[in-house]
């Protein structure tokens, strides 16, 4: 603390200090380079002190595993004993040649596209609806949001039971006279991925809605008043004011949705384990299956690195092509002044 006080009053202190020659300077001296340096270092030490716990955790659980996965990925290794069988990039080549892995990549991309095509308009519609004054609005918000906070495993098991052959979903369809639509929802390779997609939409719509609702709070009400005075219709207001101003929120949601879609694991694992006939396999389920069920730890590490690489490329591309406009639009931060 003493040092801190000196720093704050540094200029005055220096001004009052006699020089070696015993003369008092006629004007206050600027802080000397040594003092400036020590202040800078002290600041750095402060930063280091506060970020060390976080950095340590980040290194232990993020950096080290990434490096380890990279190291494992160039070995053929069953997880037991020392790694001796160096195979270079063979694991990567095998993964890229494996039809199941390429199918998994395609399924992940399909989930990304379907998320945006289905969840975005649906989420927007629900958010716009729930943003209006209406009876039961709070209850509706809770109902939409509950699936999102529900544990993935619990939600998955419940849907697994509902979607069984002759299960509740089929029974409901029968009861409302749509018996012809009953399906092997999870047992038919042609539709299993779409069934999983339906459950994912049910689960994650709440996140989109809550984000959009939060974004809607940021739209200035006077814009609506002005539009009203100009005689704009409800649809015109949404199209010209609400949705453009919601842009940054939508783009942020898109980013979260994309990353989530690339990593999707729990729900697929519970509902189908990637089956039937690999029709719902994703990169993550493929990775776990090859690693823990087949004991191909080197190979699955290569798959993990590929998943990491694909996620990183898509995330960076999204930053550059989609999120950058938000950054460009934002006012440039002025250079910090003392």
């Amino acid at each position: 603390m003493a040092d801190d006080v000196t720093h704050r009053t540094g200029t005055a202190t220096v001004a009052a200090t006699p020089t070696a020659a015993g003369r008092v300077p006629t004007r206050p001296a600027a802080p000397g380079p040594r003092r400036r340096l020590s202040a800078r270092w002290r600041k750095r030490l402060e930063i280091l002190f506060f970020v060390t716990p976080a950095l340590t955790l980040f290194a232990m659980f993020v950096v080290v595993p990434v490096i380890q996965a990279g190291r494992y990925s160039v070995f053929r290794w069953n997880g037991l004993g020392p790694m001796e069988n160096f195979v270079g990039l063979e694991n990567y080549a095998n993964a890229l040649r494996d039809q199941v892995f390429t199918d998994a990549v395609m399924h992940n991309l399909t989930i990304i596209v379907l998320s945006i095509l289905i969840q975005l308009p649906l989420g927007l519609a629900v958010a716009l609806l729930l943003n209006r004054d209406m009876w039961g609005r709070a209850a509706m918000r809770v109902i939409i949001f509950v699936p999102y906070v529900l544990a993935e495993v619990v939600a998955g098991v419940v849907w697994l039971m509902l979607l069984q052959p002759n299960g509740v979903v089929d029974a409901v369809l029968d009861a409302v006279g749509l018996g012809g639509l009953t399906q092997l929802w999870l047992g038919n390779p042609d539709i299993a991925l779409y069934t999983v997609m339906f459950v994912l939409t049910w689960k994650y719509l709440g996140l989109a809605v809550i984000l959009f609702l939060a974004g809607l709070q940021g739209v200035p009400p006077d814009l609506y008043e002005a539009a009203q005075i100009d005689g704009a219709s409800w649809w015109q207001v949404q199209r010209r004011i609400t949705i453009p101003l919601l842009g940054p929120t939508i783009r942020t949601w898109g980013f979260l949705s994309m990353i989530g879609s690339l990593q999707v694991f729990d729900m697929v694992w519970i509902l189908t384990k990637g089956g039937p006939a690999n029709s719902t396999v994703t990169m993550a389920t493929y990775l776990i299956n090859q690693g823990t069920n087949r004991s191909l730890y080197g190979y699955s590490s290569a798959v993990a690195v590929l998943l990491f690489g694909i996620s990183l490329v898509l995330a960076l591309a999204y930053q550059v092509f989609v999120l950058r406009r938000d950054n460009d639009d934002a006012p440039k931060p002025r250079k910090a002044t003392r």
């Binding site: 595993p65 095998n94 047992g187 990593q263 089956g275 039937p276 690693g291 590490s301 990491f308 639009d329």
Partner: protein, 435 residues
Amino acid sequence: MRIVRAAGTAVALTLSVAMLAACGGTDAENGAGGGEAGADGDVTLTWWHNSNSEPGKGYYEQVAADFEAANEGVTIEISALAHEDMLTRLDAAFQTGDAPDVFMERGGGELAAHVEAGLVKDLTDVAADTVDTLGGSVAGWQVDGQTYALPFSVGVVGFWYNEALFEQAGITEAPETMEDLYAAVDALKAEGIEPISVGAGDKWPAAHYWYYLALRECSEDVLSDAVTSLDFSDQCFVDAGEDLVELIGAEPFNAGFLATPAQTGPTSASGLLATEKVAMELAGHWEPGVMQGLTEDNQGLGENTGWFPFPSVEGGAGDPEAALGGGDAWACSQDAPDVCVDFIEYLLSDDVQTGFAENDMGLPTNPAATGSVSDPVLADLLKFRDEAPYVQLYFDTAFGENVGGAMNDEIALVFAGESSPQGIVDATQAAADLG
């Protein structure tokens, strides 16, 4: 927006890397056993088993207490775990080199990998008498002629069926040939009963069909050679696939069988049999116990429980009496104290195995206990096992996780109509060649 970008990047990194962390392991280089020898000569043995419900749990506590009483200074720390939990924890323990002193081994390729990594004790000489008593049962737990674990329960797979539904469909005798099985399937369908449930969602229950058909099509020599040479070029393996395609073509399986799990919940394959939704299921000796857990009255099929062996295949070179099966054995980790061997020999003793049989905890391997199995259906099964010319270890266990896994994956694809008999052989061979 800077915050958004930073948060986005953090989310991307964290989520991606969580996956990496999930699959990472650690070098099993430190190889420390769980056993501890105290300064005063006291020894603690850690023992993991999967009898986590009564009467097995209490019985094993008693067994441990008896051993402690007879061996001064020995303390046994028991972890009674759910089966799947135990397997997961064992995998992790092997990878970190911190395995319990006494644990369950399933044999085959899995054991071979443990032996290669130096994780299990060689029991050939130190438990020679018990190995002699167990006879042929230990074959599945031998690597290069050395014995590494003592099997305490070996069971076989066969068809479990609902006697009442068979009667309703007018089936008076259990099928002995594949033709009989097809006739039974037709008779059941004619009554509006789904004939067979199979948990193809978990793959291995589906794979058991191919294993059994290979057992019927291939001679014992071809199969035993394949286990060591990993050469699947014999035509009999393709023939087994052809038989399987024919069986699937007869559409005997429950609706949605591709996504049906093996034995979790009432809509699993075992659940469908237990709740009388289907007439039969191909499963191992564990089935009555599993079914009891899946019905409200804890009775499973009760008095209606029937069992018959897998039918013979016309023209097959395999012995029609041969059985497919597997079991569990007690092993000591490499660094366990010597008393570990005494303990697992005690677990295989006449007294302990007799109690094991009386409690219906499995099918005992010690001949002194075979007469003590109280459940009549399990007693029948035991008779079949003991009369079988040989018991083939489940192929996925025998070939190890990688080759076995590739085999199971491809068999599941055949069930989905997306692969062929040759495809099974090719995928298995490809995994085997990769080593």
